[in-house]
Structure formats: C-alpha cells, structure tokens
Symmetry: C2
Subunit: 408 residues, 2 copies
C-alpha cells in the first residue's frame, strides 16, 4: 500500500481523488467505477493531478447534484456547438431523453436557455422494460434535422427513477456519434453498483459516452451532497465555464500543478466533498462496499420473495438493483374499485404509520409503490417488518373496501 | 422568548428560517438584515412559512454561493421577460454591472445563455471611489435601447471584491425601475455588517431592489456554504424553476403547509444549511454577532493606523468595512522600479513566509495588497504580527532594491 497523499486544489479545497483513475483504461473498458475503487483498495496514493488532465484526456469533478452535472455538461456542449454554428442558433438546439429520464433534466435545459419545446422525451414501452429504443431515437433525430433543428445532447439512464430501467448504452452512443450528439449517462442511483463485477455489464458501451455521473450520496454510503462526474472532454467544460480574474492569479495557478475546479463548474468555490467520500472508501474498503451493495440487493430480493408469497401482491418491474416496485394486484381488489386509488390509499396509510417510508411512481398510468434498500444499517429484519406492515395495512384497507362493497 | 420551533420543508430539509422576517417591513425600510437578526434575538419562534409566501410577498432561500444567486435571479427575470417578448429575443437581453462587480456574474450570464457581448461593465472612477454612477448606467441603457437591445438585469454591489466600494442603491433602483430592469444587490462580503445600526445606511434604497444576497459564510461566522437570498418576487423564481413530477406529489405539497424550495433553486435537493446558520445565531446572539463585526472593524482600523505610522506605506481605498487595501508607496521605492512589481514581490514574500495570508487586487492598473479581518478568532495581536511581517519583508525587499540600484 502506497503512501497516503492528499493533493488538493489550493483554490477550492477539492481533492484530486477522482482523477486518480486511469482514464485510458476507463475509455477502453468502460468500467470506470471498478477501476476507481480498485485503485483505492490496492494503492492509496492519490496521484498528482495535472498529469491526468492532458489535452484529450478525461477527468472528474464533484458536484452537489445530478442537476449540476446535467447543467454543466449541457453548457459545455452548447457553447462548443454555438461557437461553430453561431449563437443565433440557440433556439434550434434539441435535447433527447426518454420519458423515464429524471425530471431535473428539464430544469437544466430551461436554465441553459434551450426551449422546453426542444426536449424530445422518447416514448418507452413496457415490452422494452421502459428502456430507450435506439431506433426511436434515430427517427426523432431525423425528423428534427428535417425540420431544420440541431441535435445537441442525449441523456441515457442507468437505473431510472420510476422503475430502475437501464438504457442500452452502446446502441445509443452509436446513433449519437453519427449525429455529433453529446451523450451523458445518468447513473445517479445505480452507478455505485458497478463496483461489483456482476453489475458492470450495465455500463457496457459507456466508452462511447461523453460524460457519466453517479451520486455517492444515493447508494455509496456518503452523506448528501456528493455527485461524481467523469467527462471524456474536460476541455469542453473548461472552455465554457472558466474564469481568469486578476485576484485569483497566483504562481500555483500559473504553473499548473493543481486543477482549478472552478473552471469545471458553475460556482467559484466548492466544499471539500472528496474528503468525505475518501473517508467512506477508507472506512469500508472495496470489499466492505461490495458487501453492502450485494447485501442490499439480497435484502431487496428477499422482500420480493415475501411479496411473491402473497398472491394479492404483484411485483410490477424487474428488480434490477435494490428497489422493488410493487402493488396490490387488480385481481385482489373488490369489484369496480380503482386499483391506483387503492394503492395510493395503501401507501398513504403505510407512511402515516411511521413504521416504514416508501415512495410511489406512476408509469404509463400504473401507480406503483417503491421500496428501496440503501441505507448502511438496513437489515433483513427491517424489510420483514416493512412487509408485515404493508400486509397489515392492505388487510385493513381490503376489509374497508369489502364492507363498502357490501353496503353498495 | 417564544417557543423554539423548527419548521422545515419535508422535501428538502430546508428550514423556513429566512422567511421569518416581516417582508413588508423589509420593503418599507430596506433594512432586512437587522430585522432578521433582531427577530432572532427577541423571539426565537420560527414562524410557519407559507403564510409569508403570498402573491406579491417576498421570501428567502439559501444557496451554495453568490453564483447560484446570480444565476437563479437571472433565470427568473429572463423567463419573465421572454414570456412577454418571445424567446427569439434571448440574444438581445442586456445585463448591467460595474467594472468592479464580482467576475462570477459573467459565468452566470454565460450559463443563462445570454451573450457575453451583452454584459455592460460600466466604468467606475477613482473620484467616485469606484462606485457605479447612475448617470453612466442611464447612458448605457439609452444607447442599448437605441441599438434595439433589451435591458434586463442590473447587479449593484455593497462591498466590492477589490476595494469594498458600495454602489448607491437608491439612485440605481430609480433608473432601473424606469426601464423595468431587475436589480440584484450583491452584498456577499459586507451584508453581514448590516446587523449593526452604523452600517445600515449602506442598504439605503434597497426597497427598490428585486433581490439581495449575502454570504453568511463570508462574514457571519458560518461555515461554507451558506449564501442567503431574499427576493421581492419569489413567484418569478418559482415560475422559472419549478417542477411538478408525479413522484414528489404528496399531501404536504398539495395542501401547501411547506415551501418546496426545489422550486426556488437549480437543484431538486439541498443541504440543511439553515441549521448551521441557526446554530450560529443561537450561539452568539445578536449582541455577540454585533460585537464580532464591530471588533473586526476596529482591528482593521488599527491595522490602518499602523500603516499610517510608517510613511513608506499608503492605504489605497477607504476602509469601509474590515478590509484594508494598501501598498508600499511609489515614493518609497528606489528610482525606476515598477511599483506594482515591487508590491507583487512583497505579497509573494509575505505569503511564502506562512506568517499571514493576504490577497492582491489590481484596480485601474494599481496593484494593492488586501488584508481582511473576518475569522472568529482574529485579535489585535494577529494584525500586529501581520504588520510586523509586512514591515520586515518590505525592509528586506527595499534593501535588495537599493543594492540593485547602487550596482546599476
């Protein structure tokens, strides 16, 4: 194990940690997370930074949230594109995503001054498990080009919010490349799983993407806020976001031994987020982190098996990670009652009990209840209790509905 | 002293603290900070929020940085304006500031998609102590209108970065009002001083502004990050930045007992910044905080008097707050040597000693060294030592320069 060195940026207290992975390796194999964590496990030396940020080389930066990752990458490609085709074309830029993409992309698009009319949420289908379909993307692009618009940016998701669907990255990157579109991969929730070999296939094809972000504060045991972004072309970020004010000129900046992260982000300053992530990595090690992730997935599968043992429930989407989407089946609900309304009442009743907290989603008109396993301290006993709670509240509610049906 | 109640937003953990001030009072008197702190001193109850956010009423939110305050207010007025005049006019919007405005405004303007060619940094003069001049602003606006451009936003500063100059808010707000321009007051550094009556006059005229931000992490003893923004029209922020995704629908949101701060900011989530500010307010009280601010100003004046006692030094700008801008006078430097170069060498030599840390600025070609008193633990002894350090390094440097002069 090497020496423990923490080189941080003089200006804004950001540790260079995220640059310690071998970006060539990342681009070749498309499996950055595993390299990143493995690097921590095998060699705790945190390399000097600047050598990693060479022209054409990739790089990493930590943001507060996925919104900031969306915004900064959008601005990077927006400025790159407009510098070629002229600023007057801002109104013609088009952003592609799926109808399952996190809603905060819309906010970032609006902030970036791109018309909301120019977002193309491509419709996904249940038969495709709500994954984006590359052919639908191509058709949308062709139609926009014919209308004189300019394709700019595509957001693919690894683990969507509503159903943890995974867009197939390879085919998308291939289509996007043909049209010069920047591909951002949002793996906010599921990115952390890729420290485990069995989940790495979800990143297959990522070598064609331009940027990738995941939230260590979602499922890598780090406190909010900690969104990690890797970009293949930090120079695009830097050329859109850099400032060079006189008051910040100093020898360290001029001689470039440090990365000025202010040039990679919206704000001048940022909190020392890398330190807390570093402490998480040091505390658990890669083995500990993998055990956590795998443990959570097993606990989620266990919850799924409990649901399977009671035929009144149905699991609505495949459990790709550690989120289980379920509902009381229409077959179990007394005649003529609205199944969505029933499940909404069930969730409100469960949450009001304070025994567990779950969140809903509505996908293609279907109201589902989502149980996500993620916190450090969650154990089998907790989901057993949660299942019992859901069962009890479903029993009580079914009883009320049946009474109501008799009285009709 | 009332009950201690901490009402926080269910969604994002933001306490409603900043809404506890009486906005009518703020707008009438333009002295929000004093009301805010006084409210904490006299009555620790934190009021229910929603009642404070009525149509036409003001409101407050906490951001990470001034950059975010600039960006969110710019987006608010940009969207308001474009919804009236059409999105195709984005390229015609103009942002006004002074040549002393913090450089991060430029970044926010760029992110907002407004052309950097449409920023008007109005030239300030030494005779005006580098304050913006309302007549110059009017001339710039008229010239832009004649060129078919659309005045949008004006940034005034209370305590500029380079020289702590204060733009006279009243006359600017009057000019801006005539042309329908949003006025943002950036008091990042100096805003905290307005908890003391003797500094409140710097906010005179603020009743005409649309938004005001200051950084509690700069000079109100709160750790980074903690930028407080008040807006007269949160509805403008909300209509530009709000989202209404299905997954966040819940009874609390529908029945409006809480403010959804996600609709006031760029990101969906935010850290619970209010808690740390609240702890600062509770720990020191208004008396303690005023004592700190006044103490720092006295310590800065003391440093100024030390400089005055050595005729080789000169104080370059008025010490409005607790930042002293000084340099070794051209008269003290041996013939034909560059006075800026000398002072740059002096600062680098002082900082390299690790005995004190100061930052430079260049204002209208004049290189100045800036000593700012602000941290909680700074005492007279520290600036005495700092002055001794500056003197010693100046002596050594003058000695070298004199030797050099003899050898010529």
């Amino acid at each position: 194990m090497g020496d423990l060195k923490l080189n941080h940026s003089v200006e804004n207290g950001s540790v260079s940690m995220l640059n310690s992975l071998d970006h060539e390796e990342f681009r070749r194999q498309g499996h950055m997370m595993i390299d990143f964590i493995a690097d921590y496990n095998q060699n705790i030396e945190i390399y000097p930074v600047r050598s990693q940020v060479k022209p054409g080389g990739g790089g990493g930066v930590m943001y507060a949230s996925t919104c900031e990752a969306f915004l900064c990458t959008l601005i990077a490609i927006r400025e790159q594109k407009l510098s070629v085709i002229g600023r007057e074309n801002l109104g013609n830029l088009v952003v592609y995503c799926s109808d399952q993409t996190h809603f905060s992309l819309k906010n970032s698009v609006q902030i970036a001054g791109i018309s909301l009319e120019n977002i193309r949420p491509i419709v996904t289908t249940k038969s495709d498990n709500f994954q984006l379909c590359p052919e639908s993307l191509r058709l949308a692009i062709i139609s926009d080009l014919e209308a004189g618009l300019i394709p700019l940016y595509l957001c693919c998701t690894v683990g969507t919010t509503s159903s943890t669907a995974v867009d197939p990255l390879g085919p998308f990157c291939d289509v996007a490349k043909e049209y010069g579109i920047w591909v951002h991969v949002d793996a906010a929730y599921a990115g952390g799983t890729c420290i485990c070999a069995e989940f790495r296939h979800f990143l297959d094809g990522i070598e064609g993407a331009n940027s990738f972000s995941f939230n260590a504060h979602k499922w890598l045991f780090t406190t909010f806020d900690c969104c990690c972004l890797w970009g293949k072309h930090p120079s695009a970020l830097i050329s859109a976001l850099s400032t060079n004010p006189e008051i910040l000129n100093n020898k360290a900046t001029e001689s470039k031994p440090v990365v000025d992260y202010k040039d990679w982000q919206m704000a001048l300053s940022q909190r020392f987020r890398a330190l807390k992530l570093w402490l998480v990595l040091r505390s658990y090690g890669v083995t500990g982190l993998r055990d956590f992730i795998r443990g959570h997935v097993k606990i989620a599968k266990h919850f799924e098996s409990l649901l399977a043992g009671d035929e009144r429930f149905e699991v609505v989407f495949p459990t790709n990670f550690a989120m289980v989407s379920f509902r009381v089946s229409p077959l179990a609900i007394p005649n003529n009652e609205d199944v969505n309304e029933f499940n909404r009442n069930l969730l409100e009743s469960v949450n009001a009990s304070s025994g567990a907290y779950m969140v809903h989603a509505v996908v293609r008109g279907v109201y589902v209840i989502r149980l996500a396993v993620g916190p450090t301290l969650t154990e089998y006993q907790h989901v057993n209790k949660a299942f019992k709670l859901v069962q009890d509240h479903a029993n009580a509610l079914l009883c009320t509905y049946q009474k109501h049906a008799w009285q009709m």
